[in-house]
């Protein structure tokens, strides 16, 4: 078990390193010259050189990457070019609201997609299945921002039920008010990740139902619904753990677009702003932070999976001579 975890940790570190190189390279390739923001025409050549040195722009990209990495490992992610504040600090300040949004939509999508997928699989090719599968098709085919826009049109423009933007109404700070602000972004985010999960649970349920152990359970006189929940559910849900981990990607990226659309004050909308301002340190820190959330999601899912599945757990124990 420990061996496996260590191997996974090593993998996480390699991926993070590569993400950092990748994003550093992208920023390096960016056309705009960072120094242009600090150097004005009336500066002397000496002053210009000083600014360049201060910004580290006189060194080679490799050297600068190395320096950035050393600093980053010490927790220093650089200062925002536009706000002149520590980049990571600005992001972590906004992280809780993003996590609130991501966590809630993950929960909502799980609570809805598992029963829907199970029922669709159990009632394969009936009208219920067609309705659920149709809904899943809709969810995976609609751009999430567009679904969000439609919600705004319906609930804000036409019905005036829900606020379209932000996290709090002006001057109000109650959980109920926040919850009201959350409904639309959460639903929007949940929809797209639900679609893939419903399809996955459905396909898995159908696959499990055709397994021979289901026939054997039937031959014991177990009823269909009992088989579904006693036998099939667990075997269907095990792979879902991995899917949830992979879903972190769509949540992280989804938060980006959805936060911008609904004006949610999280790290996604902040990063979007930073891109507009070409604030490289923020972008870099944001990529690393969300890359980390993503990779950790996969990591935790892998570990959980090996704990949840008796075949894997015992297999490892046996391999370790326990």
């Amino acid at each position: 078990m420990i061996k496996i975890i260590l191997k996974k940790v090593a993998q996480v570190m390699v991926v993070m390193l590569l993400i950092s190189i990748f994003s550093f390279a992208i920023i390096e390739l960016a056309p705009g010259d960072i120094s242009a923001m600090y150097i004005t025409a009336d500066m002397s050549a000496e002053e210009q050189a000083m600014v360049m040195e201060k910004l580290g722009l006189n060194k080679s990209p490799v050297e600068r990457y190395w320096e950035w990495l050393k600093e980053a490992l010490h927790g220093n992610w650089g200062y925002s070019l536009s706000y002149k504040l520590p980049a990571m600090g600005m992001l972590t300040k906004r992280l809780p609201s993003t996590i609130l949004l991501m966590g809630t939509s993950l929960l909502v999508s799980l609570c809805l997609s598992i029963p829907l997928g199970l029922i669709a699989g159990y009632k394969k090719n009936t009208w219920i299945d067609n309705a659920i599968s149709g809904f899943a098709y809709f969810g995976m085919s609609i751009p999430s921002f567009y679904f969000g826009m439609l919600m705004i049109i319906l609930f804000t423009a036409i019905l005036h039920w829900l606020p379209s933007s932000g996290m709090h109404s002006f001057g109000v700070n109650t959980p109920l008010d926040t919850a009201k602000h959350m409904i639309m972004p959460v639903m929007t985010m949940a929809l797209s990740s639900m679609a893939s999960k419903v399809r996955y649970v459905r396909a898995n349920t159908i696959g499990q139902l055709s397994e021979e152990y289901v026939l054997a359970a039937k031959a014991k006189g177990t009823s269909g619904m009992t088989i579904l929940f006693r036998h099939v559910l667990k075997n269907t849900l095990l792979p879902i753990i991995t899917i949830v981990g992979m879903n972190m990607a769509s949540l992280v990226c989804g938060s980006f677009i959805i936060e911008s659309l609904f004006g949610w004050p999280g790290i996604g909308s902040f990063a979007m702003e930073a891109i507009g301002k070409q604030d490289y340190t923020i972008i870099m820190a944001y990529i690393m932070l969300s890359g980390f959330i993503l990779v950790m999601g996969n990591f935790v899912a892998d570990i959980l999976y090996s704990f949840a599945d008796p075949r894997i757990k015992r297999g490892i124990d046996v391999a370790n001579g326990k």
Binding site: V14, V15, L18, I19, F22, S23, I26, I27, L29, A30, P31, G32, Y137, F138, M140, S141, I142, P143, S144, F145, Y146, M149, L150, I152, I153, T156, A157, I158, S164, A249, V252, C253, F256, I257, S260, L261, M272, I275, G276, Q278, I283, Y286, I287, S290, G291, L294, V295, N298
Partner: protein
């Protein structure tokens, strides 16, 4: 029953010669399977018809009497009418014409990105799977990393620095989606190269390239076709997201995604402007997804309904 043979002396003679019953042979041809599956599925027919209409309409866009970018303040926010079926936008541009031109961009980006993705993915996949060994390991680790990258994020960052154009969009989209195609084709190649006919052909002196092109490529066609159909869907979807964030092709040209970005500003006053391009994206992506699923089930070996 049809004419029964009369029982006579001859009936109890030993049979002279018997035609050998070789059992049942199920002949399979990819295109026949696909055609049959699509014909049997109403959703698939609807998807095909819709895509055909959309593609033809977008190709015929220049026949429209309006210039998609011509401003006409007199027609600002014109309601839908016979003259302007979708109405006009905030600059009085004919929205129907713009939607057709936008569709050209969206579809062009979708198809080109799919082609590039499939080309890179299949090449790397076959190469990696066929040659195997260290090279395979190296390429697959590389692929893993691309699968683990927060792609949407990096696409946004990359696109924000590059000069937005159709070419850069296609390049960026393909860069982040070839990896899954490579995985699929590699797995197929690995299993195919151990088949007897491939081994036989190798023993008969066929070169690697010859085997890859003649034996492996045709046999991985199925999964690649499926990946291609789903690939168009996801490329159009991602393009629309990028355009919506203002990182798509530049004004005054439009894609469906950037039309939505424009419509967002008037979402509370003129929600109808957001409906047309959005529904077009939804239906197009939906059609490609349905088609991908139908293709997948058509190419799966099965006899049970």
């Amino acid at each position: 029953m049809e004419n029964k043979v009369v029982i006579n002396e001859n009936s109890f003679r030993r049979m002279e010669k018997k035609e050998k019953d070789l059992g049942v042979v199920y002949r399979r041809s990819i295109w026949k399977d696909i055609k049959k599956e699509i014909k049997a599925n109403k959703m698939a027919i609807a998807a095909c018809v819709f895509l055909a209409v959309i593609i033809v309409a977008c190709l015929l866009a220049p026949l429209s009497p309006y210039d998609p970018n011509a401003l006409s303040l007199a027609d600002k926010f014109a309601e839908p009418s016979l003259k302007h079926p979708f109405g006009c936008d905030e600059f009085g541009r004919d929205y129907f014409t713009r939607a057709l031109y936008g569709g050209r961009v969206s579809l062009l980006v979708g198809f080109s990105a799919m082609l590039v993705t499939v080309f890179i993915g299949t090449t790397i996949g076959i190469f990696s799977g066929y040659i195997g060994g260290k090279l395979d390991m190296l390429l697959m680790r590389f692929t893993d990393i691309f699968l683990a990258l927060p792609s949407m994020l990096l696409m946004v960052v990359l696109n924000s620095f590059l000069k937005p154009s159709i070419t850069t969009l296609v390049a960026v989209l393909s860069l982040f989606s070839w990896a899954s195609v490579a995985r699929i084709t590699r797995a197929e190649t690995m299993s195919l190269k151990e088949r007897d006919y491939v081994i036989a052909s190798r023993n008969l002196g066929a070169g690697s390239v010859q085997i890859a092109v003649k034996h492996i490529l045709p046999n991985i066609l199925g999964p690649v076709i499926v990946a291609a159909s789903l690939g168009v869907a996801s490329a159009i979807l991602t393009e629309s997201s990028l355009s919506f964030l203002g990182l798509g092709i530049s004004v005054p040209n439009a894609s469906w995604g950037s039309m939505l970005q424009g419509a967002q500003a008037f979402i509370l006053d003129r929600p109808i402007l957001a409906v047309y391009p959005g529904v077009l994206i939804l239906l197009t992506v939906l059609s490609f997804n349905v088609l991908g699923d139908v293709l997948r089930s058509a190419l799966e070996p099965k006899i049970v309904k």
